[in-house]
């Protein structure tokens, strides 16, 4: 006998309305169908009302968690079509803020995962550590979550030497705090019991189903769009973080190790930050042509397709967000696991529904 139960849309584990229709046989999931559309706003159609500078603010609000990277990618696209070279300092500053976003996003996610398997204390610790990053954001950009520092042609704000020194200090503290919670992730019985061997995605499956980001790297594929060297990443040394096992634990560890990686990247950026202008003037831009740009978000590869039609309104902005690509892998992970593990597995791809549906 099989039962169909709706998982969501209003659900305590996730603030967002994720809705899966799950077919159960006894306690085992046999099938899952995603039901989307609760967050769909249709913001890609706003291109016809908002001009290309205003669109920066709109695309930032595709997703509040990785807003900086959305804006960065959009700006890369428009600058690419217009053939603008932005100052080197601006490239570096963009990446500093992007990596800060990656840190806060991963910490947030780690907290939510801990909450999903009932480990309240880890949740609280992660979010306490995350507040350090939020402080940096608030002090440097003026807002906590959506910071709006990108604009077409450069960045809006600068980081003073004092601020840079302070950020470096905060990063040191952050690293110490991460070291403190590391034993919980590597040794704790609860964490391992709930994640090791749960929701396995093999390397072949992951690649074939088009998984991206930590979901892909957790399955042993070393693919990170940052390796293409967009923005200032070409001046930075780093290696993509890869784990072999493809289960929820591997994905957790990928994200956890990426936290250290992000700290390292920001340190390098601060060290190598060149002097110079913050932005170039872009006057009465009328882009014409099409372009595809990709970047690496905390959740994986983000793709923007932008088409301009020779006026200050763009013809089309198409956003393929990482979670959208991670939905088919999620559907492949779910069959065969127990109902009680569904929240943990669903969270292990780091779902961002507002990204997915835009």
């Amino acid at each position: 006998m099989s039962t169909i139960i709706p998982f969501g849309p209003q659900h305590p584990v996730l603030p967002e309305p994720l809705h899966l229709k799950i077919t159960l046989k006894d306690e085992i999931v046999t099938d899952a169908i995603p039901m989307l559309g609760y967050v769909h706003r249709g913001l890609e159609t706003l291109v016809s009302i908002k001009d290309l500078d205003q669109m920066v603010q709109v695309v930032e609000r595709v997703c509040g968690i990785c807003s900086c990277i959305h804006a960065h990618t959009y700006c890369m696209c428009v600058e690419g079509i217009l053939g603008i070279e932005i100052p080197k300092r601006a490239e570096f500053l963009r990446i500093i803020w992007s990596e800060l976003h990656r840190m806060h996003s991963h910490l947030l996610w780690l907290g939510l995962l801990a909450d999903a398997f009932g480990m309240e204390s880890l949740f609280m610790h992660c979010w306490r550590i995350r507040e350090r990053v939020m402080d940096v954001m608030e002090a440097t950009a003026g807002n906590r979550v959506i910071i709006s520092i990108n604009k077409v042609g450069g960045v809006r704000r600068d980081l003073s030497p004092d601020q840079l020194r302070w950020i470096a200090q905060v990063l040191d503290e952050l690293e110490r705090e991460l070291d403190a919670i590391k034993p919980v992730l590597t040794n704790d019985y609860t964490v391992k019991k709930r994640t090791v061997g749960v929701g396995v995605l093999t390397k072949e499956q992951a690649y074939e189903l088009g998984a991206v980001g930590p979901t892909l790297r957790g399955s042993g594929v070393a693919q990170d769009v940052r390796m293409t060297g967009y923005g200032a990443y070409k001046f930075i040394d780093f290696e993509p973080v890869v784990e072999k096992d493809g289960d929820s634990y591997a994905r957790t560890m990928v994200r956890f190790r990426e936290l250290y990686q992000a700290i390292d990247i920001v340190r390098q950026l601060i060290r190598k930050l060149p002097d110079g202008e913050l932005s170039v003037k872009v006057k009465a831009a009328k882009p014409e042509g099409e372009i595809v740009c990709r970047s690496e978000q905390p959740r994986g590869e983000l793709l923007y397709y932008v088409k301009g039609n020779g006026s200050k309104f763009l013809e089309r902005v198409r956003i393929r967000t990482p979670t959208f690509a991670n939905v088919p892998p999620l559907l492949a992970m779910l069959p065969g696991i127990e109902m009680a593990d569904v929240p943990v597995v669903a969270l292990s791809i780091d779902p961002c529904i507002s990204c997915t549906e835009r």
């Binding site: 169908i33 995603p34 989307l36 559309g37 769909h40 249709g42 890609e44 159609t45 706003l46 291109v47 016809s48 009302i49 690419g80 079509i81 053939g83 690649y207 074939e208 189903l209 088009g210 693919q223 769009v225 390796m227 293409t228 042509g289 099409e290 372009i291 595809v292 990709r294 590869e301 793709l303 397709y305 088409k307 039609n309 006026s311 309104f313 013809e315 089309r316 198409r318 393929r320 959208f324 690509a325 939905v327 088919p328 549906e357």
Partner: protein, 126 residues
């Protein structure tokens, strides 16, 4: 900077995509643009961070062969395009029937005619 795409005919699509898959490409996504009386469908693929794009042009009202039998991942995006533009895909594995995102009362195919010349089209849905 122009986007380099390979223009192919609708009938070649399945074969082209299958051959890309055979050499290890990963399906990234599918973009659709309204050109007035036809649609541009651009298929994006990736292998070791190198991208390849295929472009097909379909007339309004035409159907397109689905590639969800080759790449399961194409399922979501094909459903999405069906919602937004009203393009039907032949052989879609799991068909939401145009209600992947949208409810009944929403304007049909909202992404069509989204352009500066007709700003009303976008506002109607309010």
């Amino acid at each position: 900077m122009a986007l380099e795409t390979k223009n192919i005919a609708k009938t070649q699509l399945q074969a082209e995509v299958a051959s890309l898959k055979a050499v290890g490409y990963r399906f990234v996504t599918l973009s659709c643009v309204d050109l007035g009386d036809s649609f541009d469908l651009i298929y994006h693929f990736d292998r070791e961070l190198q991208m390849t794009h295929l472009r097909i042009t379909v007339l309004k009202g035409d159907t397109v062969p689905s590639i969800s039998n080759i790449y399961f991942a194409a399922l979501c995006i094909e459903n999405e395009i069906k919602d937004f533009f009203g393009i039907s895909f032949d052989g879609l594995i799991l068909d939401f029937g145009g209600h992947f995102y949208l409810e009944e009362e929403v304007k049909r195919y909202p992404f069509c005619k989204v352009s500066v010349k007709e700003p009303q089209a976008a506002k109607e849905g309010n």
